[in-house]
Assembly symmetry: C2
Homo-oligomer: 210 residues x 2
Amino acid sequence: MPDTNLRRPRGRPRDKHDGRRDEIVDIAAKLFAARGYHATSISDLTEATGLHRGGLYHYIESKENLLFLIHERFITPLLEEAHAIEARGEPPDVRLRALGHALMRDIATYHDQVTVFLHEWRSVATATKDAERAQRVREARRDFEAVIGRTLRAGVEQGHFKISEPQLAVLGFLGMINYSYQWLKAGHDFDVDTVADAFCGFFLDGIRAR
Amino acid sequence: MPDTNLRRPRGRPRDKHDGRRDEIVDIAAKLFAARGYHATSISDLTEATGLHRGGLYHYIESKENLLFLIHERFITPLLEEAHAIEARGEPPDVRLRALGHALMRDIATYHDQVTVFLHEWRSVATATKDAERAQRVREARRDFEAVIGRTLRAGVEQGHFKISEPQLAVLGFLGMINYSYQWLKAGHDFDVDTVADAFCGFFLDGIRAR
């Protein structure tokens, strides 16, 4: 399949092929999240998608490539929203709350995809032959971290926040929200926006300059 | 093998068999963390441990049981330390910091074991036939959460903390620290106590009554 189908440039309109591929990626994410990536075979994937082997490969290229596609499913909308939030130019505390809510909703919406990525990424990163693709994953993750970092820095510069270890503040904020993938669908009854509100509240009160 | 060897009651002195089993559990945790539980075979385990199949099973009982043993490796010392910290009766903020440091160090010390548990627990919990053992895992996790919950409650009762959603405060505090397993050994250069200090600082300032 042509490379351009896998690497849709930003802004290119999504076509029917993209939509069908998203469906396949989501089915794969569900299987991988439940059984693990290695324990899920190509036969499991053809059975679950109703595709023949050839049809499946037409959409996914390879089983490994599915992991990159799974990552793109949740990181692309998250980055788009994060940059849109940044562009609104709101005060740093309002912006951080908006980013926290966006991340929390992304994790809830793409729970399987996030789970698979967090559990499998390390082994993909070391085993993949597609170094360029792996690099783009790292860049996407740094991109989101950088949005948080700029927000915290703006708050410090404007005298709203007091932070002694900016990188640890980024990691702490992201960790508190990211870790929710472990319990979000496991019997806890919280609405995602309630969780995001509470977590952003602890964090903002924790870094507020006084 | 007798059941009692697998389920060492608290306080029973550790013998040579326990020590050798810990070594085997740690080797398995390393393999599972790198390749995934399902992708690691019993042959991989016999090769890595230098044991024959029979010898391996003597120590681990079953491959699935290894996951329970891996959990015990990091939860037993953590709970012992958490209860010792509680017994000291220090003020809630001092206690919370001590618990944060203990958790952070436990994650760093048993990084493979924590990784394997967080990645594989869900599928074990649904697939295991040993419901009693799975229940003990849940109880151990709730035990640690309860120590954090009591500490926060004590802080509220004594007027030090102000918390509107106590359960979310427990989840936020634990998530911020637990998520560090994702980046702790992946190129970040922080000393674990520096991380714990910073995270406990954000959190304590975030819940401090004013």
